[in-house]
Amino acid sequence: MKYVDEFRDGTLAAGLARAIAREVDRGRDYAFMEFCGGHTHAISRYGVADLLPANVRMIHGPGCPVCVLPIGRVDMAIGLALARPEVILCTYGDCLRVPASEGLSLLKAKARGADVRMVYSAADALALAVREPAREVVFFAIGFETTTPPTALVLRQAAAQGLANFSVICNHVLTPPAIAAILGAPEVRRLGSVRIDGFIGPAHVSTLIGSRPYEAFAAQYRKPVVIAGFEPLDVMQAILMLVRQVNDGRAEVENEFTRAVSRDGNAKAQAVVAEVLELRPSFEWRGLGALPDSALRIRSAFAAWDAEAKFGLEDRPVADNRACECGAILRGVKQPVDCKLFATACTPENPMGSCMVSSEGACAAHYNYGRFRDSEALPAQD
């Protein structure tokens, strides 16, 4: 496919692999975190690890929207959809399988009679509300900065049209506070526990917020950041750039994804978001806990379209399964195979933790794409 396959070319990949192998210092290890689930998916889907030297390790970060969505928020949506037959609850596909309390998920709630529908965009949800004037259409909005402007836009459109049967449960979260939380985590700060030598910065998120927000981390924590596109060659190019920064002792923000990302991002989209949404003082992230100023809520001027206000929904924090290591995995402290539940009690068919839900989650990516490596690492059986 034109303009996509060029970024998945095997010959170019082999060239980049040789360049990375040439540049790495054999006397040391490199550990880089890709923040975004999109990068996690690309790395696993295309087998990028096979093209990297043994001393370059990728740590999968928390940038998977459904992975960091706390159980309490999903419970809230399920409760609403089950309690009110007039409600059509719509959300993005990935969200439907997120495990919630009492063994439920939105898909399982659907089987119990809730009207839960998958949409491909916020605009689809708004169009559904127009088509179904007798029903209450509630859009369960999740995602990082990428999916936020469309949510803000439909809220503004609903307000402009006076569309009374549409509302949004806003779960949008912000990338920079999550990166700060990882860098500030005790495991990362305490030397020798978890080492992160640099970050691959988000692709689509950065098209919105620009590269400037990462400059503070690079300077404060002395960690290089390379913003990269979601194609496998982008990822490999970013790894090469990170290796060079580490070798040179630099900690800069570099932009591999210049075809889409500028320093200041998309001002128009930022303005729409600022008009409709505002910072939540605190929001619970699965795996990272409550982080200040890390999420967005709907401004009071748009309260009539805020499902939390409209239906009096309460946010009740719910603890993860105690054996589930999603939290540590999301912080890069543990790997999927370190979790006792991985591939035993927790599988993509029956996810216990959120990292097993989306193929962008570290556990699901490893289960679906990389599990064969675990048996290769074991001694051969007779």
């Binding site: 889907r45 087998g47 599988t347 068919e349 679906n368």
Partner: protein, 353 residues
């Protein structure tokens, strides 16, 4: 001729009529539906007799019987490249064909929803009859039930088929051995994406046409080209796509597989639509593709036979079975890395960003 027909006052209104509960009640209305719609379209002596079943001749000497059944609940009922009628014939014909059998007879059972337009039903039944003729099978018996409005999705069709398996043919999911070559008869994902593109919730206008087709001719061409024992496994990768089919075979046979991603044919439109929706074509349904695992010495002959048939012009050799105690299906990606291709978990849902 059934005597009930004589008592009909008026013929069925195939233009504006709708399915009523009486059409499934066993009385004259049902008899009329059977004679004027089903028996006329499927036109054979077995149906014309109007009995409760069909009396069929015994298979040829040395032949065994193969039976398969398939229920069809597709939405939308009409899609680019086919409809639930043709699909219900191809589904069961293909299940018989990949057993190595020559499909002969079908039984068809219809669950109709009250209020469903008779014109649409006639279109579906005509399409089914045309598909059966093209595949060389006869619809010899059937059943009709009507459910109240709101309790069905228009039409559900279940077909059950009987085929004759010639002596010496014994393909099966458990027959693959390490070293066997994996071949595919053409592009994957066309059916699933054609359906998805047409679903109401997805305003996605791509010229993707379902590949729904009967595979018995292609299978016969294979057996004409190579010794029967060389063909270890035949499968049609329907729901769950190629990935699921290969995992089934790997598990049944106790082997692993290694595929070359770049060798797996995917139409550019399907590739683009999957890319947009965050889907993997390996998991998207097909209704007219054949997967063959054969002995390595005969792989070239199998490939040539596939390519010589109109349904296999884009056939490709996509990989090989391996010795692997874990029965993993692996792919060498176009990028040059490796990954697993696992069973489909749940429904295939698009990723968010």
């Amino acid at each position: 001729m059934p005597s009930a027909r004589l008592a009909h006052a008026r013929p069925l209104d195939l233009r504006n009529g709708r399915i009523e509960l009486a059409f499934g009640a066993g009385g004259r209305a049902m008899a009329q539906l059977i004679t004027e719609l089903f028996a006329r379209a499927f036109a054979n002596d077995w149906l014309a007799r109007g009995d409760d079943g069909a009396v069929l001749p015994a298979p040829g000497p040395g032949e065994r019987l193969v039976m398969a059944t398939d229920a069809h609940v597709v939405s939308p009922l009409f899609f680019r490249g086919g409809d639930i009628g043709s699909l219900s014939v191809h589904g069961t014909v293909n299940d018989l064909a990949v057993m190595g059998a020559r499909p002969l007879y079908l039984a068809a059972s219809f669950i109709l929803e009250e209020g469903f337009p008779l014109a649409d039903l006639a279109r579906i039944v005509d399409s089914m009859a045309a598909a059966a003729r093209a595949a060389g099978v006869a619809v010899v018996t059937g059943d009709t039930k009507v459910v109240e409005q709101g309790k069905g999705d228009g039409v559900f069709i279940t077909t059950t088929g009987i085929g004759a398996l010639p002596a010496g043919r014994d393909p099966g999911g458990a027959q693959a051995r390490p070293g066997d070559v994996v071949l595919l008869s053409g592009r994957i994902g066309d059916h699933g994406m054609a359906i998805m593109a047409q679903r109401e919730s997805l305003a996605f206008d791509a010229e993707i046409v379902s590949d729904s087709a009967p595979l018995n001719g292609l299978v016969e061409a294979l057996y004409a080209a190579v010794p029967a024992a060389a063909i270890r496994v035949l499968r049609d990768p329907t729901r769950g796509g190629l990935a699921t089919t290969l995992n089934e075979i790997a598990t049944q046979s106790g082997v692993g597989m290694t595929l070359e991603e770049a060798a797996i044919p995917v139409a550019p439109q399907v590739h683009a639509a999957c890319e947009l929706l965050g889907l993997d074509p390996l998991y998207v349904a097909n209704e007219g593709k054949l997967v063959v695992l054969c002995a390595p010495a005969h792989a070239d002959a199998v490939l040539a036979a596939l390519r010589a048939h109109p349904l296999g012009t884009e056939a490709a050799r996509i990989g090989a079975a391996t010795a692997d105690a874990q029965h993993f299906v692996q792919v060498r990606t176009a990028l040059g890395g490796r990954r697993m291709v696992d069973w489909l978990a749940g429904e295939q849902l698009p990723r968010i960003c």
